[in-house]
Each structure stands twice: as structure tokens, then as C-alpha cells.
């Protein structure tokens, strides 16, 4: 009888402790979310107040409320969509082209030593060249068409993705390769079942880094060599002294950048379930 009671007491103690632990975890999650949202909201409020009271020059630092109004006008009037469409089209074409070729060349260099020896040093040297600097050359060759804009993005993406892909193959743990060899994995089977999955995390890193870079490059290209797109919109607002429009352009570009990075992360989670499916939660890991 007494042991029964003791056991009951112990169980409720354990249950309570577990419940407490869950509550603590949920509380921390909510707190993180609140802090993450509160910071930008607070900054925007400060900005609004500072601009309205004259602490900031409202002609240069358009109050957020006016930016929202201007943005809404441009959305309804269709003006913003024209620029968004042009930029996204260049980004998508350049990013897909650059990453597809980058992954292919990186993999080839990884698995085939002569290709690596032939291309490695040259690519490493070219990697250091600021890709935007070759835009004038591309303009000379292709004229004021879409081709030099898309190519600028593609070339920037290519180098980052190629280098990461190659590193992904070269850095595979020797013990993994030995295990593969011990089970007679060769040729396509070795590539498909061992080399490619082992390199995928590095490839995804390359894609994530180059996505941000692609947005920078497309904006810069549109500054100088375009009469549409968000880069053009931003640059043109400077020349016309329209800070509201400029802020709308800046915000839209950052949203597109965030969206692309988000898409790459979603892709990464889908392709790498073995990295993201939860293991045991450790206290030290997520403080």
C-alpha cells in the first residue's frame, strides 16, 4: 500500500518535471519570436517619430508611413510589378544557368582529376575578379540586350557554386570512400550513392551564398545598363530625387533576396532529410 503511494507520488513528480521542461521550452520559443518581431517594429516606430518631429530630415528619410503609401500606389498602379518582373526574370535565368553549370563543372572537376588539374588554377584566379567588372566587356560583346545582364548574374553564381561543389567532393571523408570501395561501389553507382549525397551539403552552401550575391549583381547591373528592374528604379529615384520610391525599391529588393534564400533553404531541407530529421535534443546545442 505504501509503495503504491510512493510510486504515485514519484510519477506525478516526473510528469510535473517533464511538463515544466516543455513549458520552459515553449516559453523560450515565444520569447525569441517576440524579440525577433519587436526589434524591427521598434526601429520603424523610432524612425517614424524622428522623421515627424524633424530629428531626421524627412526629405531624405521618408517616414515609413509614407513609404507604405507610395508602395501601395505603385502596386495598384502596376508600376512596381513591371520592375519586379524584369528583375526576377534576370535573377531566375542567371541563377539557374550559373548554378546548373557550376554544379556540373564542380562535379566533373571533383571526380575527374585531369579536369581539375586543367581548370582548377584558372578558376581560382578568376574567382578573385569582381564579376561586376566584366559587365562593360559583356556589353561590348552583346550590346544593350538582356544577355549581358543575365550572364553577369550567371557568372557570379557559377564561380561560387563550382568552388563549393568541388570542395564538397574533395573533402569527403576518406573512411567513407574506403567503405564504399570495400563494397565495390564504382562508376555511376559510386557517384549516385556516395559522392553526390556526400557533396550535397556543400553544394547547398554554394547555392545559398550565391543567391545573395545574385541579388547584389542584378541590382548593380540594372543601375547602369537597364531601363527597367528594381536596380533601375532605385538609381532613377536618386536622379529624380524621389526617396519614397527609392525606399520602396530597396525594400522590394531585400524581400526578393530573402525569398530566394528562403527557397534555397526549403530545397536544402527537402534534399537533406538526413541532416534535419531530429536527433536527441541536447542542452548544450540549443542554449
Amino acid at each position: 500500500m505504501t509503495t503504491e503511494v510512493v510510486r504515485d507520488v514519484q510519477r506525478t513528480d516526473v510528469e510535473q518535471a517533464v511538463e515544466r521542461e516543455y513549458r520552459r521550452h515553449r516559453r523560450l520559443q515565444v520569447r525569441d519570436l517576440v524579440l525577433a518581431v519587436a526589434t524591427p517594429v521598434l526601429l520603424l516606430l523610432l524612425w517614424e517619430v524622428a522623421a515627424l518631429t524633424g530629428m531626421l530630415d524627412a526629405r531624405l528619410f521618408t517616414p515609413p508611413s509614407e513609404i507604405v503609401v507610395r508602395g501601395w500606389e505603385m502596386i495598384v498602379g502596376g508600376e512596381l510589378w513591371v520592375h519586379v518582373g524584369a528583375t526576377v526574370a534576370r535573377l531566375a535565368a542567371g541563377f539557374l544557368l550559373g548554378s546548373a553549370v557550376g554544379i556540373a563543372v564542380g562535379l566533373l572537376m571533383g571526380v575527374w582529376r585531369p579536369v581539375r588539374a586543367a581548370l582548377g588554377p584558372t578558376f581560382t584566379a578568376l574567382y578573385a575578379l569582381p564579376k561586376i567588372a566584366i559587365l562593360p566587356l559583356l556589353l561590348l560583346i552583346f550590346g544593350l540586350t538582356e544577355t549581358p545582364k543575365v550572364l553577369s548574374v550567371a557568372i557570379s553564381v557559377f564561380f561560387v557554386v563550382q568552388i563549393n561543389t568541388l570542395a564538397g567532393i574533395v573533402q569527403i571523408d576518406g573512411r567513407i570512400l574506403e567503405a564504399a570501395r570495400a563494397y565495390r561501389a564504382t562508376g555511376w553507382k559510386l557517384f549516385r550513392n556516395v559522392l553526390l549525397p556526400a557533396a550535397t551539403p556543400a553544394i547547398m552552401t554554394g547555392l545559398r551564398v550565391s543567391a545573395g550575391m545574385a541579388v547584389i549583381v542584378v541590382t548593380a547591373v540594372e543601375f547602369v545598363a537597364s531601363n527597367n528592374g528594381l536596380g533601375y528604379l532605385i538609381w532613377n529615384s536618386w536622379q529624380l530625387f524621389q526617396p519614397q520610391t527609392m525606399f520602396v525599391g530597396l525594400i522590394t529588393v531585400s524581400l526578393i533576396g530573402a525569398l530566394i534564400t528562403g527557397l534555397v533553404i526549403v530545397l536544402e531541407r527537402a534534399l537533406l532529410p538526413w541532416r534535419h530529421s531530429g536527433g536527441p535534443r541536447r542542452k548544450g546545442k540549443n542554449p
Binding site: D173, R175, I176, E178, A179, R181, A182, Y183, R184, A185, K189, N193, V194, P197, A198, T200, L272, P273, W274, R275, S277, G278, G279, P280
Partner: protein, 267 residues
């Protein structure tokens, strides 16, 4: 069991090693193995012990064709089929993190182009044998070190190779898990009777698992002696309480002591 090394090899031999030496070429050449003669019977369980750096892993790799002998000859008399003649178990990092338990265990047969249904059936059987039922779709990083090692062992058995080559398969495990897995390994082997070569640094493990123990010298590794293990089968950890166990452990340790001291002078 044959205890004296034979040069010719008989019909019941699985591996015949004759005059094998291995020199790794590098800045300073390393003489890893010197003049190894060894014959291993089909269906026998051989344990190789020796000081670290004595080339026992290298010998295992040469047996499994992952490494070639600089001089000498290794004859593998086991039947050649669609699966490799030897399946390996490595100390760790031998399982692929991007595959589930099921895919890892089926890997050997997948590489041998065995159909998906058949290889997954075999894999499920061996997952059950090593006690991982219910974890078929888990990824290795979700499991403990002991469970990951059981994946590697299940994969070696599921591949269906006539011989298993194990390189300190239980070396990275804690003492308790290790004892349990030694017993599990004995049971699995007693049911299958494959030719097994197991490299270990644990004399107890060698005595518990093996039919014969090959004691190697410090680098360059030579076969110092080959001992027959007298304990019958089926065998369990209880043999460790027998006086003969203590006597043999002492004998092997004395044989190894000089070699360990020699190898410590090296490094």
C-alpha cells in the same frame, strides 16, 4: 584448427598468405608488414592482436583487396559470386549518414545489383538479427554509437559474402555495450559460420570470439605466434571465469608486452 602456417593451402583454406610484405612509399618509407605467412580455414574465426601501428589493419585490408601487397601473394580461395568475397566492418564512420538504416544495410547487395525487393528483404532480416527492428527508416545520426555499429555489422552479414573482415568493429564502444555486442557477434557467427578475421587490441575480445589468435610483432609487423583457443562453442562471456582464460590472457599479454614496448620506442 591448423596452428602452423602452411605454404601450400588445402581445400578447406579460405585465405592463404605467402611471404607478404608491405612498404608504404612516402617521404620516409614505412615498412608496415614483413614476411607474413598465414592460412585461414574456411569457417574459422581468427583474431589478430598486436601493438598499435603493427600493420594489423593493413594486413586486413590486403586480405580484403583494399590494399595490395608490395611483395608476396594472397590467395583467396572462397567462391567468387556476384557479391564481393569479403564484407568489411570498420571501426566507425563506415555507415553512410545520408542513407537510412535499411538503405545502409542493403548497400552491399545494391552495389552487387541485387533487386530492390530481394535486398531489402535480406536487409530487414539482418536488421532484426542485430536488434534494430523499428529503426529501418531512421538515419544514423539519430542513433547511438552502438546502434550505428550494429548497422555496419548487419550490412556485412546482409551482403552475403563468404568472409567478414572486421577492423576493431567494437573499438569505439563503451565497455558494457561492447560486451553485449561481443556476445551478439558470437551468436550471429555461430549461426552462419562465415570465415571471419577480426582485428582487435583487446586480448579478452580475441579469446572470447576467436578460434585462433594471431599475435603480431611491432612494426614491421610479423606473425609472432598463432594460438588455438580451446574454448568450445557455443561460447559466452562466462568463459572469462575459466582458469584457462586467465592463463591464456597472461600468456598473450607477456608475448605482447615486449612488442608494445618496442612500438612505444618508435613513437
Amino acid at each position: 584448427m591448423t596452428s602452423a602456417p602452411t605454404r601450400t593451402g588445402t581445400s578447406t583454406d579460405a585465405f592463404v598468405v605467402t611471404g607478404v610484405s608491405k612498404i608504404f612509399v612516402g617521404k620516409t618509407p614505412v615498412h608496415a608488414l614483413a614476411d607474413i605467412d598465414l592460412s585461414l580455414q574456411t569457417g574459422s574465426f581468427t583474431c589478430i592482436v598486436g601493438p598499435s601501428g603493427c600493420g594489423k589493419s593493413t594486413l586486413l585490408r590486403i586480405l580484403g583487396d583494399l590494399e595490395t601487397a608490395t611483395v608476396g601473394e594472397v590467395r583467396n580461395l572462397l567462391p567468387e559470386g556476384r557479391v564481393p568475397r569479403s564484407a568489411f566492418v570498420f571501426q566507425e564512420h563506415g555507415v553512410f549518414p545520408w542513407f537510412t538504416v535499411l538503405q545502409n544495410v542493403a548497400f552491399g547487395e545494391q552495389m552487387a545489383s541485387v533487386g530492390k525487393r530481394e535486398r531489402e528483404e535480406h536487409a530487414r532480416h539482418w536488421i532484426g538479427e542485430v536488434g534494430l527492428t523499428g529503426f529501418e527508416n531512421a538515419y544514423p545520426h539519430q542513433l547511438s554509437g552502438g546502434m550505428r555499429q550494429r548497422i555496419a555489422i548487419a550490412r556485412a552479414f546482409a551482403t552475403g559474402s563468404p568472409s567478414l573482415l572486421m577492423d576493431e568493429p567494437l573499438g569505439a564502444l563503451d565497455a558494457q555495450t561492447r560486451i553485449l555486442m561481443q556476445e551478439q557477434l558470437v551468436t550471429l557467427w555461430e549461426a552462419e559460420r562465415k570465415t571471419v578475421v577480426l582485428v582487435t587490441h583487446s586480448i579478452e575480445e580475441a579469446l572470447l570470439l576467436g578460434d585462433q589468435i594471431v599475435v603480431m610483432s611491432a612494426r614491421p609487423g610479423r606473425v609472432k605466434e598463432i594460438l588455438d583457443v580451446p574454448f568450445g562453442r557455443p561460447r559466452s562471456v562466462e568463459v572469462e571465469t575459466e582458469p584457462e582464460f586467465t592463463r591464456m590472457r597472461q600468456e598473450i599479454w607477456e608475448s605482447l608486452r615486449d612488442e608494445v614496448q618496442a612500438s612505444m620506442r618508435f613513437s
